[in-house]
């Protein structure tokens, strides 16, 4: 079963008549910036790059330690980071960053542009959610959980004689992959156009409870969804005011909207 939802909003935002005389900027008379140069700015010219390579060793596995860090399994880790870029006199620049390569928390980004003309960026980031690595479950299947063969139904776990032999270990958690792309264009010094796209994808499992009247069981619910967001805006800058027109859309899509499970108890409903 698939489920989608959309949300659109178009904002005719902020038409500001400069909050003029109240601001100190105005009292001291706005400076004329046309002839300024940033002499002290230490923007590096030319190429720069740095890299870091390391290894780590974990003697035990722990979901809590690995939550959001990706360091959940024991063994050897290779940690690699790198960053660098290029900046040219003509105003072009390009920078990149790579973080935690070799781990589940890896991230990468590139950004660049030409001063006063355009800028852009691309990014990727994985957020590892590690909930438990000591879990056990009797169910098998993704969005259609069934009981093992030979399961003995009962009113409480005491009577479920097949429980001990039916439990199998499971890791609980999911990854959230975050992607981003954005750009901004300057047309003269009055018009600015911006576009920002983001996508989050999640896949894995989370614990969930399921009830049958007065009894309930804990299970794993599959997570398999994505969210896309698009932001666009156009801005016009006047002398003492600016106007901005914005557009925002968010689209949610899940492949795990429906979910069924067997009843391990001997209650009236065998499946839900």
């Amino acid at each position: 079963m698939e489920q989608r939802s959309h949300k659109l909003s178009i904002a005719v935002a902020t038409v500001l008549l400069a909050a003029s005389s109240a601001t100190p900027a105005e009292e001291t008379a706005a400076p004329d910036t046309s002839a300024w140069a940033c002499k002290k700015c230490t923007f590096a010219q030319g190429y720069t790059s740095e890299a870091e390579l390391g290894a780590g060793w974990l003697d035990d596995s722990s979901a809590k330690f690995g939550d959001y860090t990706g360091l959940d399994e024991d063994g050897v880790y290779v940690v690699a980071n790198a960053a660098g870029g290029v900046a040219l006199d003509s105003g072009y620049h390009l920078d990149y960053e790579l973080l935690d390569l070799g781990l589940d928390s890896r991230a990468a980004s590139v950004e660049g542009g030409k001063q006063g003309a355009y800028e852009f960026g691309l990014s990727y980031d994985r957020v590892p959610r590690r909930i438990s690595d000591t879990g056990e479950t009797i169910f098998s299947g993704g969005d259609d959980l069934s009981l093992p063969g030979g399961w003995v139904r009962a009113g409480s776990t005491a009577g479920m004689t097949a429980l001990g032999t039916s439990l199998r270990p499971v890791d609980v958690g999911y990854d959230r992959d975050r992607y981003g792309a954005n750009g901004r264009f300057f047309l003269g010094d009055k018009w600015t156009f911006g576009l920002d796209y983001k996508r989050d994808e999640r896949s894995g499992t989370r614990p969930r409870y399921g009830s049958f009247g007065s009894v309930s069981t804990e299970m794993l619910r599959p997570i398999d969804d994505s969210t896309d967001r698009i932001n666009a805006d156009v801005r016009y800058q006047g002398k003492h005011w600016f106007a901005q027109l914005g557009y925002f859309a968010s689209i949610y899509d899940t492949k795990a909207a429906g979910f069924q499970f067997d009843n391990p108890f001997n209650a009236a409903v065998a499946r839900r």
């Binding site: 949300k7 001291t28 400076p31 940033c38 002290k40 590096a44 928390s105 409870y209 309930s216 968010s250």
Partner: protein
């Protein structure tokens, strides 16, 4: 001579107007609407401007810049159940626009909920059976920075639910040691997910018979 930074004796307004001269029309167009301007926070209090690496522009180092003034927030993000800011996976600026907005608490979207839906769109619905406080404001139950309770809720269940719902109908508190799990008359709502053992769909349900948020 205009000096920049927190220790400067140049009035903040004069310092900032220098930066705004070049930057007002793009990056910081809403500056005069925000609490940082109103409270005389200078650009240079956050920016190590025009350095090759400005700490406030990097996700992993940005929070430390904010914590120099927002001390309480540092401890909120240290809690066991918190948004992964400490791990460098989210920055303050994922949720806040430090240069000013018209939104509540400088959030990046118009409302708290719209901000949360940026990354938790699965909670947006539309739901067939809504749970009223969810649709209204996520922060009635959640501490958005972090909390000591699983799922970043402000209080543990069943107390969380009972801060609004009466116990009439199905009492759900243990009245003594016998109410603890494993005893003769355990209060069913104490173990595991407490109220959520049955009302698992606290954020709303799309099941045709999900009116009591159990499926």
């Amino acid at each position: 001579m205009i000096k920049f930074g927190r220790d400067s004796d140049t009035p903040v307004g004069v310092q900032n107007s220098m930066c705004l001269g070049c930057h007002e029309k793009t990056a910081v167009a809403n500056w005069h609407m925000g609490p940082h301007d109103v409270n005389s926070v200078s650009c240079a209090a956050c920016h190590d401007s025009h350095k090759a690496k400005d700490a406030v522009l990097t996700r992993a180092t940005q929070p430390d810049v904010c914590y120099t003034c927002h001390v309480a927030e540092r401890s909120q993000f240290q809690k066991v159940y918190a948004h992964p800011v400490r791990q460098g996976k989210l920055a303050c600026s994922d949720c806040h626009a430090p240069h000013g907005t018209v939104a509540h608490k400088q959030l990046v979207r118009a409302t708290v909920n719209d901000t949360c839906y940026e990354c938790h769109a699965e909670k947006r619905g539309p739901m067939l059976w809504e749970h009223q406080p969810v649709t209204e404001d996520c922060s009635t139950c959640h501490a958005p920075h972090g909390s000591s309770n699983p799922g970043m809720v402000k209080q543990r269940g069943p107390l969380l639910c009972q801060s609004c719902h009466s116990q009439q109908g199905h009492p759900s508190l243990g009245y003594g040691p016998s109410g603890l799990p494993g005893n003769a008359a355990p209060a069913t709502a104490l173990a595991l997910g407490n109220c959520m053992n049955c009302h698992s769909q606290v954020h709303g349900s799309n099941h045709p018979s999900g009116s009591s948020l159990t499926r």
